[in-house]
């Protein structure tokens, strides 16, 4: 069994190192990273996933991410602030 989180963290490092370069031609597209390299660009996450599944299978460990500047991720303001179900 591979450590998916560790693989994804490594692919994210490679993604971040190549981001500026990728933004020039692939901004807004979804990229598949495998082995520290971008192996394909796609219009949406579903298409990228289809490619990665066909090529590597579900357990190989790969990154699929939109080619975009990182931004603050907030799942839900209410959820994170703990007020969804406060009593």
């Amino acid at each position: 069994m591979i450590d998916t989180n560790a693989v994804i963290e490594n692919e994210k490092k490679a993604f971040n190192a190549r981001l500026a370069e990728m933004l020039k031609e692939h901004g807004g597209e979804f990229v598949v990273f495998k082995g520290g390299e971008p192996v394909g660009f796609f219009p949406d996450a579903s298409a990228a996933y289809g490619f990665a599944m066909d090529k590597y299978g579900p357990d190989a460990g790969f990154l699929i991410r939109e080619v975009a500047e990182g931004r603050l991720q907030v799942a839900s303001l209410t959820w994170h602030l703990g007020v969804s179900h406060a009593r």
């Binding site: 989180n5 996933y49 303001l77 959820w79």
Partner: protein, 216 residues
């Protein structure tokens, strides 16, 4: 003055009724089929009725389901492995959520492929959340009995221990039955909708743009 306000309300109600009858008459004359407001526009409306106290206590939930993406299902089938059944449950309609999220336990049960991680921030600091590719489906029956379905494959962030929180808080449906939370319906989906929250009557209406709706 209260008397004046009552008179104004009566006048407004009479005016609205007059307008409604006018529209009805015009529809009759034109021979057009009566509409629910959705068929004539680009919206499909769904209405949910709750006990008002339940709506206030737990927020609007819609029944939806998560399933494995088509490519994953095909992979499993090709390898003679069983394809997990879609998991049906309740999604909290959350205008405070930037994106639609899946409950982590649902993602695990479906055996979804993790495709990314994100760091989320909140009152309790940062934490890492897994991102999965999953198929989301919302099927609802409109007032004419027709089923409409919204279906999307999307990269969705996982929410930790949603079931645990719901259990701890005793979240219940209007009939008292337990709720199985499967995620949050966030603004990436809600940007295609119009929402009406009628707190006093316990009604919640969601009108979905036909852009998203698969034709029955």
């Amino acid at each position: 003055m209260p008397g004046s306000k009552r008179d104004a309300d009566k006048r407004q109600a009479a005016h609205r009724e007059k307008q409604r009858l006018k529209r009805k008459e015009a529809t009759k004359k034109s021979g057009a089929a009566p509409t629910n407001g959705a068929a004539a526009s680009s919206w499909v409306k769904f209405e949910y009725q709750y006990d008002p106290a339940v709506l206030q206590g737990f927020g609007p939930h819609v029944v939806a389901e998560w399933a494995v993406p088509d490519h994953f299902a095909a992979f499993l089938a090709a390898n003679n492995s069983p394809v997990p059944q879609a998991i049906v449950g309740h999604m909290l309609v959350d205008t405070g959520a930037s994106s639609t999220s899946i409950a982590e336990e649902v993602a695990k049960e479906l055996g979804l492929t993790q495709i990314d991680t994100v760091t989320t921030y909140g009152a309790h600091g940062g934490q890492t959340s897994r991102v999965y590719l999953a198929k989301f489906r919302l099927s609802v029956r409109d007032e004419h009995g027709q089923i409409h379905t919204v279906e999307q494959e999307l990269a969705t962030m996982a929410i930790h221990d949603m079931q645990g929180l719901y259990d701890a808080m005793g979240v219940r449906q209007s009939d008292g039955s337990p709720v199985r939370p499967v995620g949050l319906l966030g603004r990436d989906f809600l940007r295609h909708t119009r929402l009406t929250y009628h707190g006093t009557e316990g009604r919640f209406q969601i009108a979905v743009s036909k852009v998203l709706v698969r034709q029955p």
